[in-house]
Amino acid sequence: MNALNWLTGRPTQLSGEQQHRLEQLAAPAALDTAILDQQRMVVVDVETSGLNVKRDQLLAIGAVVIENGAVDLAQHFECTLSCENHKVSASVLIHGLAPSMIAAGTEPAEALLDFMTFVGSSPLLAFHAAFDQRMLSRALKQSLGYRLQHDFFDVAQLAPMLCPDAALEHAGLDSWTQHFGLQVQQRHNASADALATAELSLILLCKARQQKLDSLLALQQRLNLWLRRPGRHSL
């Protein structure tokens, strides 16, 4: 055991193979002007033991891929993470992950390596992305000592920006799926939520195209302007 673990902030030791995989992970691609329709994007949703990004634990990750303008059902990621000292809290009523399922889950380091391999260099999309980003960042840091630097797009921000007529500025995923009449198979299941978010994203990407935003870079720039627009009251 490395005595300096606590200093480097790497709490658990990785196996040789895991270490190798960690080193092989692709670096995030910089946002560029590649045509939106040809981009690979990973749409992610996480389930956690609660809403506190500093304390609560990552329980499950679900992700789907948008590539060439379509959700490719062949590429999907779904994993429940095993978790020491997991205490059943009220959040079980939301995510529905029973203690037995969490006990039977994948070891976090392994799960997160799998996930990051799945992500590759692609940018990520999520609904209320800041939350997913922080939960993932913390877990990656803790389990792998990995610094998450991939770009995240918040679908909760893109949606009102691209659909001003919907008048749903601070709405949740449910409001948006309802607005577009999307069917969600099982709400608060990471995979199903990711798919719903991806369907929503397909609609939004189509709107973006119609508004001549044809690259992720253009989308990002517009979003920055939109977030700083005068008269916008902060959360």
């Binding site: 679900g62 789907v64 303008g69 379509a70 959700v71 490719d72 059902l73 062949a74 999907h76 779904e78 577009f180 009449g181 999307l182 069917q183 198979q185 099982q186 299941n189 995979s191 199903a192 990711a194 798919l195 991806a198 369907e199 397909l202 609609i203 990407l205 189509c206 709107k207 119609q210």
Partner: protein, 642 residues
Amino acid sequence: MAENEFERAGKTAVSQNIHGTVEFLQKFPPFNQMDLTHLVYLVEHCQLRFYSQGESILKPSDGPVDYFYIVKQGLIRGARPHAAKANGETTFEITTGECFPLSALIGERATRTEHIAAQDSFCLLLRKAIFIKLFELSAPLRDFALRGVSSLLDQVNQQVQLRATESLGSQYSLDSKLSERLMRKPVSCAPDTTVREAVKIMHEQHVGSIVIVSQRLQPLGIFTLRDLRRVIADGSSLELPIEQLMTAKPFRLPASASTFDAAIAMTERNIAHVCVVEHGQLSGVVSERDLFSLQRVDLVYLARSIRNASKLETLINLRSNIQQLVDRMLAHGASSTQITQLITQLNDHTVCRVIELTIEELGDPGFAFTWLCFGSEGRREQTLLTDQDNGIMFAAENTADAAAKRERLLPLAHAINLHLAQCGFTLCKGNIMAGNPELCLSQQEWSQRFDDFISNATPENLLGSCIYFDLRVVWGEPQGCAQLRTELLDKFAKNTLSQRMLAENALRQRPPVGRFRDFVVARKGVEKDTLDLKVQGLTPFVDGARLLALANGIESSNTLERLQGLIDKGVIDAQDGAAYEEAYHFIQQTRMQHHQQQAKQGLEYSNRIDPDRLNHLDRRILRESFRQAKRLQSSLALRYQL
């Protein structure tokens, strides 16, 4: 509870989203009948795509279709290009759970219709390669897809007819019902009306015929201008009641009969008027001119010219008219069954006339004889490519009498064969012709011959003799032949060994289909890359239908009638029978179109075709038709345990 857990475990074996999509699809056919593993495979290979309202999903100019589409959500509109409307004309709407474009995908072509999202829509897209793989694996998917194609076949036929209609500038189809063609009330009179009075009515009404009806409007007779000529030539009184000079019991058809039925009846009976009746009452008269006023398919005229030809030369010249007629009928969307029926009928007229003219030339033998035909002619399935397969039957007291009569008939029979050859009926290479002493037999000898065929059958000689089982009378009294057929059915029903051998023969010609995408074609020689539509495609149906018909006492010799008879008797399943019929029909149609093309290019008729030269749709349907032939064969193999 335990069961519930097991269920859940089974479900979590696939990812939540795959499972969710599978569950969604399971609400709709054909996915609700598909094996779960196939369905999971399908979903795992899908992509989900969004189309905003008004977006074009597929259009004819995109070229051959690459994906199978399932609507997950929304509404898709099919629009055919339409000059007057900017967006085309809506032809169909496809909504949640439905899929498209089956026919274009299976036909390996572009769609004929632009598919536009009528609402914001999501579709699941499956690559063609995966679809084809599943099509092979999953019977429910295959059936579903092919049902689409089969209704498409109807559409193709409708289109052909539509084109014909357009060029004629009127609603015309050989399939239209007689009731649709009755423009005016029938002109009729009572039986005691005088001829003078009747002719006056005809003159006033500008018609060529008058129907004599009973008080309850039942047709009793018909009187036409042709009859009037006869009355005047004979010097009969015009004051006689018309019932004494009318043609009694006029030919009648129900109003539901088709134009084609009327045309065929006129050709067959050499009549120019058909009474149309509903519930026994006269509802109209269809004349030759009514049927053919709109176009030049004058088959009644042609039949009459053949029947009245005074010289062999005239008959030879009329041959080319038959070809033109078939050409036009194909263009008018006539079906292969209608055309083979028509060719057979005109051929029958030609054969009869050739026999009569030859008798005039060589002298009457002085006793009655019957002209028999076998094979395709016997089955009434002739195309323009026709061999002679014929024979003679006569009555004889004893062996010596039979030999004497044969001596007398053979020169005549030989001459008839040669004359027929001049009229375009190719001489039979196997010498199955009436001029052959072995086929110019008394009824007794024929009966003996059939006995031999059956009791001394070997697979080899049955192969040669089975065409005799499709016999029919073309000229002469039919009773002798009817007796012969009854005997044949009787002998055959009892002899399961020969049934079995016939079944073996029926399996000899394997339909030329291989794996999913391939036809089996000749590999070398002049026949390289081609297959034989007749031998490899039609023969399995003809052989199968013959065997089952003979074994089950069905008298008809026509393949489609045999199949119908087998369905009626419950020997084959109605759906199977319908599929066989449709397949047989399509192969025959393809063969005839092929012959027409050869005729146009001045080539010799051949039944060999290069499937790659067919359009994609025809090729796919042809392949499925061969597959039906294969199914028929496997059902025979099962039935006779071969």
